[in-house]
Amino acid sequence: MTTPHPIASIVGVLIVALSLSAFLIWVERRLLALWQDRYGPNRVGPFGLLQVLADMIKIFTKEDWIPPFADKPVFVIAPAIIMITVLMSFAVLPVAPGILVSDLNIGLLFFLGMSSLGVYSIVFAGWASGNKYSLLGGLRAAAQMISYEVFMGLSLMGVVLLAGTFDLTTIVEAQRGLWYVIPQFLGFVLFLIAGVAEARRLPFDLPEAEAELVAGFHSEYSGMKFGMFFVGEYLGITLISSMIAVLFLGGWNGPWLPPLVWFLIKVFAFLCFFILLRASLPRMRFDQLMSLGWKVMFPLALANLLVTGAIVLAKK
């Protein structure tokens, strides 16, 4: 297998990830419209595809306003953190054989660590805005992400037990025969729910909660700083979808089609599923979110881990 030059991989992943997340704005608006019996943006360019470009021009030329009551350095650095952490996670993502920036043997742990660091972005943003609604959003984000991270990691341990490694490439290759979604169905569902919460998507978008908190942690942000939160959110969805595809749906494995196409199909299906969730489910209340996390998901993840461990031991 010939691997491309790492710089080429990095540039390729960066360009594809960033343009994909911009493209996702259009996908989301069109799909939401489809499920609400509307058309969505279909005026600018073919199928409204150039809407993304128009929005980008708009957001780049907007005034970049830092409120005088904000904690300036933290306010500026917060949107950068989310972009950096999410883009770093893409480094360990095995897209197709050979298309990979860094083949870390602890790739899964790196991904979990980076998504934990992403919380800081939101907490900092909420704190530095000097606005009570932003602060509430930041607090919610901290509580939500920390509690959902616990069973997010635990739900993945079943996969790690089955594959015997933290290396994502090896995990994908271990699924050549059987995708882990079948032996690890519970883990798959738990990871899916935790992923939605990690990406702060709709049934769990309490940190933003337009109805209660204006726009939550990014109320005070404008211009490209807001754009970075936006892109970070879409990159987060893409990352979670890719991770689900890699860990539970056999990554690039699949008959007939080339590996890259299989990977993209799987990721796109989950992206659509995330948008479908947004189209169909209302936002939870915060105490419901917490009790769901700690009283239902966490014990289930533990039980899943125990049962998987017992079976793996018994098979030895």
Partner: protein
């Protein structure tokens, strides 16, 4: 839990529904003939102006968007010297059409009146007048009314009884 999955499925089924949006500039929506849109002033079947400048429309207009000035021609017919509708004020309520005694002022189903310049929304009489009788093809106010004009004395209108002689005692 089950209801959540059912909700997601039901929303997904909307992918196969027909979209309700009418893509307006490309597809025109169907407008009923009585849609209240742009106001016109209609003419008699003979081609004369119907408006008798009675001011009822201007009086009833809730936003005061109609302005006119009455005058009389050499036949003794009243007509508006100018007739001005400010469509940037008009709310298309149709009260002027209801108030009009001669079917002169009528609302049409045309609503595409966008302008870049607000001043262009002020329509003068020549902009408002149309060449036809509008919704009431056969009606001619001067022919049926009891008003005296040159060439038609009292009692000479269509279906008009001869005027009562106020000096006679018999009914």
């Amino acid at each position: 839990m089950l209801s959540v999955i059912r909700t997601i499925w039901n929303v997904f089924l909307h992918s196969f529904r027909r979209r309700v949006t009418i893509q307006y500039p490309d597809e025109k929506p169907y407008l009923t003939p009585r849609t209240r849109g742009r106001i016109v002033l209609s003419r008699d079947p003979d081609g004369g102006e119907r408006c008798v400048a009675c001011y009822l429309c201007a009086a009833v207009c809730p936003v005061d968007c109609i302005a006119l000035q009455a005058t009389e021609d050499e036949h003794g017919r009243r007509y508006p010297e100018f007739f001005r509708i400010n469509f940037s004020r008009c709310i298309f309520c149709g009260l002027c059409e209801d108030a009009c005694p001669t079917y002169a002022i009528q609302l049409t189903p045309d609503f595409e009146m966008s302008e870049y310049n607000r001043q262009n929304l002020v329509y003068e009489k020549e902009d408002l007048l149309i060449n036809g009788p509008g919704k009431y093809p056969g009606y001619n106010f001067w022919r049926v009314s009891g008003v005296q004009i040159s060439g038609k004395d009292k009692g000479e209108g269509e279906n008009e009884a001869p005027p009562t002689d106020v000096y006679r005692l018999t009914p």
